[in-house]
Symmetry: C2
Subunit: 455 residues, 2 copies
Amino acid sequence: MDLLKELRGFLPDDQVTVNQTVLEQHSRDESYHAPHLPDVVVFPKSREDVSKVLQFANKHQIPVVPFGVGSSLEGHVIPYRGGITLDFQLMNRILEIRPRDMLVRVQPGVLRTQLNKELSKHGLFFSVDPGADATLGGMAATNASGTTAVRYGVMRDQVRDLEVVLADGRIIHTGGLSAKSSSGYNLTGLFVGSEGTLGVFTELTLRVYGIPEATMAARATFPSVKNAVDAAVAIISTGIPVARIELVDAISIKQVNRFSGTDYPEAPTLFLEFHGNEPGLKQDVESATELAMQEGCQGFQFETDSKARSQLWEARHNLAYAFIKASPGKKLMSTDVVVPLTELTGAIEHARQMLDEYGIEGAVLGHVGDGNYHAVLMTDPNNPDDVKRTEHVNASIVEYALSRGGTCTGEHGVGVGKMKYQRQEHGDALDLMAAIKKSFDPNGILNPGKLIPAI
Amino acid sequence: MDLLKELRGFLPDDQVTVNQTVLEQHSRDESYHAPHLPDVVVFPKSREDVSKVLQFANKHQIPVVPFGVGSSLEGHVIPYRGGITLDFQLMNRILEIRPRDMLVRVQPGVLRTQLNKELSKHGLFFSVDPGADATLGGMAATNASGTTAVRYGVMRDQVRDLEVVLADGRIIHTGGLSAKSSSGYNLTGLFVGSEGTLGVFTELTLRVYGIPEATMAARATFPSVKNAVDAAVAIISTGIPVARIELVDAISIKQVNRFSGTDYPEAPTLFLEFHGNEPGLKQDVESATELAMQEGCQGFQFETDSKARSQLWEARHNLAYAFIKASPGKKLMSTDVVVPLTELTGAIEHARQMLDEYGIEGAVLGHVGDGNYHAVLMTDPNNPDDVKRTEHVNASIVEYALSRGGTCTGEHGVGVGKMKYQRQEHGDALDLMAAIKKSFDPNGILNPGKLIPAI
């Protein structure tokens, strides 16, 4: 079948392309996973465009892969079975801001920074911050989170409603404008994190927050990673409502300084942020400082002005890119496990041991307030031995987490990279997931080969 | 088939009964919905008991209805098709408290107050507080919330893992101990709020919180319901993190005073609570007071000692019972809509108009910080005209909410009472819900006739 011709039969010519460069741009994400070309890329402009494409694809059993900016880390957007990639860059409008309802309605191609720029005019912000300037559609598809989840929750906590085009082209809404609901099954939560395998998002209604009265950022350095993690666990367990609490190990600080031009002390560090009213925040900072000191904190450096604060988080966000830049020819493999807080110190020590044992120059960092950390492993995709060795370390870290009630992925998602752990993590529950997939997408056209392993 | 004999074939005699009084206790909930007897009541002691009963019931296509304490408000536990009621009062153990992980593992028959009593020994509390001393299993089944949801979220936000027995007797876990996960579809969120129609809970792992350093409760009286609601909306929109903010109208205050022996001014009132560190809380209280004064607040009365605070919330919790006691022979019909905050004042004014127009002596109260309110309508179940009139008002309130992006039920759930609004609220998404039901429970034995209307 001539896909280009068929699709141009019901879509304007400039919304459908088989240009080689464009196909290549849609053949990969930011991870080490092998690229694969789609047969065609479509740029929908409306829910109706998406619905028409899906009706067509469903009839002819052609795979369809939704695509934001390709910042996924487990191969989610790589079209391993070819077919149609739906790129949402033309559906990037902020449709409605309702400041008093603390809600915003957006198209899936809206970027995180684009949304926050607009929201700031109303004294509001969108809380989820995965580092990458991802699209809101992509963030909902992977249930992204990041540095602020410890205070404001993950993507799933922010989505009130999704407009979804189903495999057969039907358009549904999963929720509404209510702050809560006990009506019907929770389809919103089911679609968030479904990685394009159950339906394609064409609109999102999201919860937003008022910009806090006061914000304070800080860096706390420790003699060891263990001390830093123990301090983080103490701060969280005490109930201090930190807005961010990030572990950055010494190797990562080196990369930060090199890439971002900072001169932070090259020691295990917690990056912290506090939000609140002035007096409450002051008290929170005091309590946190005290707990950090009890863990041997060697310096608690406050970033009071907004420029230094921005630089701090900018540096943290750019860490993955810093590693990528520092390792030419290599690609990023990142673990993303979560463990209960009481298991966190042991888990991070185990990860460090594995890295040392296998001679991998990687970093350990992450969202320790949630028990979520990343071992950043650079690997050479053209060197099978290197990939195998790195994958072995990756697997060992995942096994450690799963054996302690943890999860194989806290925020990156399953994609193709974490599929092999799904049975071990979910047991027979995986069969229920497969049954849902089968019932929502009987022809298996929606991002096939992702999330749910062939059973 | 002799159900008693068959069930006693694989369960101890004292765990299975057809005693008439026991059957009657399991024929109703706290609502106006007509009672119906189960054929037999089973008291499981373990997941294995539940699994055996479900395997048996599935084989013989016998309905199974899980039962906590019967405090549901939409007929959820009424076995309209007879069959087996599973009463969880013997599965009422707190299995594990992990204070540093802020987690607790419980059996489904554990009561809310029982859990909080135990947690308080560790400086912890469980946040969800629906008023009734319900079981945790029942609260998860209906996605209950209540007064503290505005700060801590609803039941769905607290559940980390469910052990669920499926219709065919298989036992699965929906989650784990992680604070967040992007692994697989979100089955935990799907089962929470499924009202016993997708599986039966045998264990719950729940998030708990540290008891806040400082707590302050207050009553603020206003010249009108509109002023009270506008003040609440202003407080929420400003981002003051109130822990509770409840509207209690003048009629309800009268009932409170009569039933609970208080002497609160009989005017539209907000009941508030603040949690935080001392200085932060003080600032929050000041900001809230200022906003209330701008809406004509006639008195901001603080309940500083813990006894007066307990009395305040006790009085609020007993409101439903106060109305029931004040109307002998009548039963409770409660609306439970949620609307976006900007629609709340209009919605409550509309509800008040409907009550006046139809001469129904009812109250309007609720969790206004979430946009969730209840019109409490007492009706005589033996007077069809009375029921019809009350149902008409109920329907009109629901229609108003749905037409403004709201939901027909914020926390009570669908049961049988809100089934008729499911198509209107969910549109084609209801077909997806029905498909999930069909795939999880192909023989339709799990709480049949609830939540999902026959399609």
